[in-house]
Symmetry: C2
Subunit: 168 residues, 2 copies
């Protein structure tokens, strides 16, 4: 198999995986492409390799930068910008988890707090059930945050990684 073919399979698959995780296909594909190159690529190179419009590439590369998965790089004597992926898998995972935590866990927490604070009127048993749901969910959100922190620790600590494997 030609390297190009393998890369292309990887890009396609990553794109469809992204879709099912609520990440746009283009963004996931661009990410896969950049991951597969040790060095940075220019917007035009990305456009060509993934067959996307300039606007799309621009938007999604910017989004990848927001997620801290890609950074801009300038090359001496070159006018254009190059984009390089963060290549360390653990840092990638950590950045994605942190971003999702910020974007999704925090809104949930806000909602739960708001609802928990409200004095509810209505059927007593239903209220009790509803409030216990709210408090269970709040606990769960905290636990997810603990797990994210744990993951960060694991990434920086090989001993910890072995410990996890051992107790799992």
């Amino acid at each position: 198999m030609k390297l190009e073919e393998g890369r292309s399979k990887f890009i396609q698959a990553w794109g469809s995986l992204g879709s099912s995780w609520g990440i746009s296909k283009s963004m996931a594909q661009i990410h896969a492409l950049l991951l597969s190159y040790p060095e940075g690529l220019s917007a035009d190179q990305i456009m060509e390799q993934v067959q996307l419009s300039r606007g799309n590439v621009n938007t999604n590369v910017r989004e990848l930068i927001n997620w801290r998965l890609v950074r801009k790089e300038t090359v001496l004597g070159e006018r254009k910008e190059f984009f390089v992926a963060l290549h360390d898998v653990h840092s990638i995972a950590q950045n994605i988890m942190e971003e999702r935590k910020r974007r999704e866990l925090e809104p949930v927490r806000r909602l739960l707090n708001e609802l928990k604070a409200a004095k509810l009127e209505g059927n007593k048993e239903e209220i009790e059930h509803f409030q216990s749901l709210l408090s269970d969910l709040a606990d769960f959100v905290s636990q997810m945050e603990n797990l994210t922190n744990l993951m960060t620790k694991i990434n920086n600590n090989n001993y910890m990684k072995k410990l996890i494997k051992a107790i799992s």
Copy 2:
């Protein structure tokens, strides 16, 4: 605040949260509704409370059943079916993680294995980089699986939960 209002806020918020995780809004809303009731609701009750068509309710309830988040219940002397949510937050999380593992992690693993097995032709350094990406990703997938298993353990073991919190 009326209980109904709180419930409705919860349902709306859960719906939009679902969207950003690649779960259809209706499915997430129905799930939220069922979570908020201790007992089961009939298709008609769901249709009314979440304002969805019969077909949509039918499809998404079935999907929730596939995810093992909801089960059918029959009431003696009643012709229709009632749907009850799994109410234990930890079991919910576990079922979701297992389902996503099955649906998404496994296809990734298959792709990685396929690519790892292929003998690639092309620029040596690029191939090396690509292959090291593949192997990093494979390690990462395994680690995610370990983490899922760990979570299962945590759920069934309060001591473990405290341990996690302590080392996090």
